[in-house]
């Protein structure tokens, strides 16, 4: 038997494997479904590299992983207060702005925040608000308001939707909503106000179906749940899914008049990044209006990129939760970090809420 074909095949395979092994790779540690697949392809073509994505489902997961010493990520996309934690924890590489000419596209309103003064480490990527999402048919039928936090906290309203409401399983988000309803800042740190908010939550809890941060999109879509405290992107997604499934109702976004939490996610480079050069190239690429607009068109995220507006569909631009007009934006607040002692107290109140009958 002639062994040459086998040897030739092996040699060919070895040659094929070489460029693959040596290929340039950008490691992006991102939220799930937080970049359009076409955008990734376009970047891969531009940089002649491969984008390797891994995902996290909340900022705490990202922090816990990095605190435990995880390495090998180039670009991360954490939310404002987590950027602050990462900066203070010395986890980030300063940005080289000479490599980021597209930074000029970003709306100055979202630059130079207290989380990262002067944007030494971070640049805005996309944003979402934590608002109400509702089944328009059911809410109209029941005559419930959809522009106030009262609808998820006031037992008078809740009695009509008992067991059809979910709130986020996040102490930070739920306390912030309760603070806003009570007329305080989302970042209030007065212990008396915290207890007042905890009492408010405990009184409303019997009417809620669940604390839920994962499956409420699906439950809204199929009509099991009629009202949620959730993220604007998720509510947008729920409506898209409901329309795709041919449901008669729509899932709409309700911006509470008391104000809400704004979450701006930013691109940062991890201090252990294997490829800071590719990381800068990627950040600059994502600051391009068209690439940034892809994401908004896909998932309905808010967009801090002024150059993106022209590539975003008009119906999306009309959503106040996505592009807050000035009067709404004035009432939005980004969540700040708590101290260790505050986090311990918050968790204690949260456990009492969860264990309360």
């Amino acid at each position: 038997m002639d062994k040459r074909p086998l040897a030739a095949t092996l040699l060919a395979l070895a040659l094929l494997a070489l460029p693959a092994a040596a290929a340039d790779k950008l490691h992006l540690y991102n939220w799930n479904n937080y970049i359009a697949p076409e955008t990734v392809k376009r970047f891969e073509a531009e940089c002649r590299c491969e984008v390797v994505q891994t995902y996290y489902s909340d900022n705490e997961e990202l922090l816990a992983k990095l605190a435990a010493g995880a390495k090998g990520y180039d670009v991360l996309v954490p939310t404002g207060n987590t950027v602050e934690a990462l900066v203070k924890g010395g986890q980030l590489l300063p940005l080289d702005k000479s490599k980021l000419p597209n930074l000029r596209n970003v709306d100055p309103a979202y630059l130079n925040t207290p989380f990262d003064p002067g944007n030494r480490y971070s640049t805005p990527y996309a944003m979402s608000t934590t608002i109400l999402g509702y089944n328009d048919e059911k809410m109209k039928e029941l005559g419930l308001p959809t522009d106030t936090w009262a609808v998820i906290f006031d037992p008078r309203h809740l009695a009509k939707v008992k067991g059809r409401v979910t709130v986020l399983d996040s102490s930070a988000e739920l306390f912030a909503a309760a603070f806003k309803y009570l007329g305080y800042s989302a970042n209030d740190v007065d212990e008396k106000h915290w207890r007042q908010a905890a009492d408010l939550i405990k009184k409303a809890k019997p009417y809620w179906a669940a604390f839920n941060a994962s499956s409420y999109i699906k439950e809204l879509t199929v009509g099991n749940i009629w009202l949620v405290h959730g993220y604007s992107n998720d509510i947008f997604q729920a409506n898209q899914d409901a329309q795709a499934a041919g449901r008669k109702f729509r899932i709409l976004q309700g911006m509470p008049k008391e104000g809400a939490v704004l979450a701006v996610d930013s691109m940062v480079i991890h201090k252990g990044a294997p490829r800071p050069d590719l990381a800068h190239q990627f950040i600059n690429f994502m600051l391009d209006g068209r690439n940034s607009a892809d994401l908004t068109n896909l998932i309905g995220s808010g967009n801090p990129n002024l150059d993106a507006a022209k590539s975003i569909s008009p119906e999306l631009k009309a959503l106040p939760a996505v592009f807050p007009p000035k009067d709404v934006a004035a009432k939005l607040e980004q969540l700040k970090e708590l101290t260790t002692a505050q986090r311990r107290l918050r968790n204690r109140l949260w456990t009492e809420i969860k264990a309360a009958r």
Binding site: D58, G89, W208, T340, R344, K354, A355
Partner: protein
């Protein structure tokens, strides 16, 4: 003397790796956890530096004090133990007849039946929990049937999903095979001659079961109970996904400490208490088991 040496060498060669595996992957993490429980949380997760800026050592009992400051954490512990107990008893009640059935079936059907018991493991744990969301959902046949019957009697409709009922049903579903398998392994070995002898001596079916089969099967019952109770005690995914607002268990609380609250020391304290509680209950079961078999031996 020389003849013994290779034997002991071989014994270590065979038993050493699994022992090393246990030491490395059980003992060391447990010790790290125990050490972490006496420290303070770091500002950004992890632990505060052992030696502070002022040169003081970071060793504290604060996390243990927090545990007993109020009753809220203990309440969650008690609730978790109750859920795990109910799960174990329900699994036992469902698994026992099934294990007897399999053990008494003709040999050619036995393997197939065992395969069917193990079959659910072929699909992912989370996917099976999500499947229960659909089964228990308000628009599914089950909820409609139950609420249809309730409506006849003028009762309010109930919600199955997001409830303690959903959590318990799924806990039992997930853990049932862990009860069936050790019970089957035990029952299959029983000597039928004992039952025949008892019948000859005039014992009816119930008496034969209660005085012979059940006492003999106790080691299987304890093994199954331990395999169900201990994982059910620490589970967090099922109450997270299927539970209502009142279904926070100790597993959820521990997860919260490591993620949301970034309080590794307190999370370690809760984990240690959980481990100790599980060990204590397993020890208690073993002790009762030994007393039980001693009584059987006397009788």
């Amino acid at each position: 003397m020389d003849a013994h040496r290779p034997v002991s060498w071989r014994k270590w060669a065979v038993g050493g790796p699994p022992l090393a595996y246990l030491v490395v992957f059980f003992a060391i993490p447990t010790l790290i956890m125990a050490a972490a429980s006496f420290r303070s949380p770091g500002e950004f997760g992890g632990l505060a530096p052992l030696v502070g800026e002022d040169g003081s050592l970071d060793i504290t009992l604060e996390s243990y004090v927090r545990l007993v400051e109020g009753t809220v954490y203990l309440e969650v512990f008690v609730k978790s133990i109750a859920y795990a107990l109910v799960t174990t008893l329900a699994c036992l009640a469902l698994a026992y007849p099934l294990a007897v059935l399999i053990a008494q079936s003709p040999r050619k059907y036995r393997d197939l039946m065992l395969l069917l018991v193990i079959l659910p493991f072929w699909s992912n744990f989370l996917i099976r929990i999500y499947a229960w969301m659909i089964i228990l959902g308000p628009n599914a046949a089950l909820a409609k049937a139950i609420n249809g019957v309730r409506a006849v009697f003028g009762a309010e409709p109930v919600s199955l999903l997001f409830s303690s009922f959903a959590v318990l049903v799924c806990l039992v579903y997930v853990h049932l095979p862990f009860m069936v398998l050790p019970l089957y392994a035990n029952l299959e070995k029983h000597d039928r001659a004992l039952l025949d002898a008892a019948q000859d001596l005039g014992a009816n079916a119930w008496r034969r079961f209660w005085r012979i089969t059940f006492p003999l099967s106790l080691p299987g019952v304890y093994a199954g109970a331990a395999l169900v109770f201990i994982p059910a005690l620490g589970i967090f995914a099922i109450p997270d996904i299927l539970g209502g607002p009142n279904d926070t268990l100790i597993g959820n609380l521990i997860k919260q400490q490591f993620l949301e609250t970034r309080d590794w020391p307190f999370g370690s304290v809760l984990s240690i208490v959980l481990t100790v509680a599980a060990l204590a209950l397993a020890g208690l079961a073993a002790w009762i088991g030994r007393r039980g078999s001693a009584e059987v031996a006397r009788a």
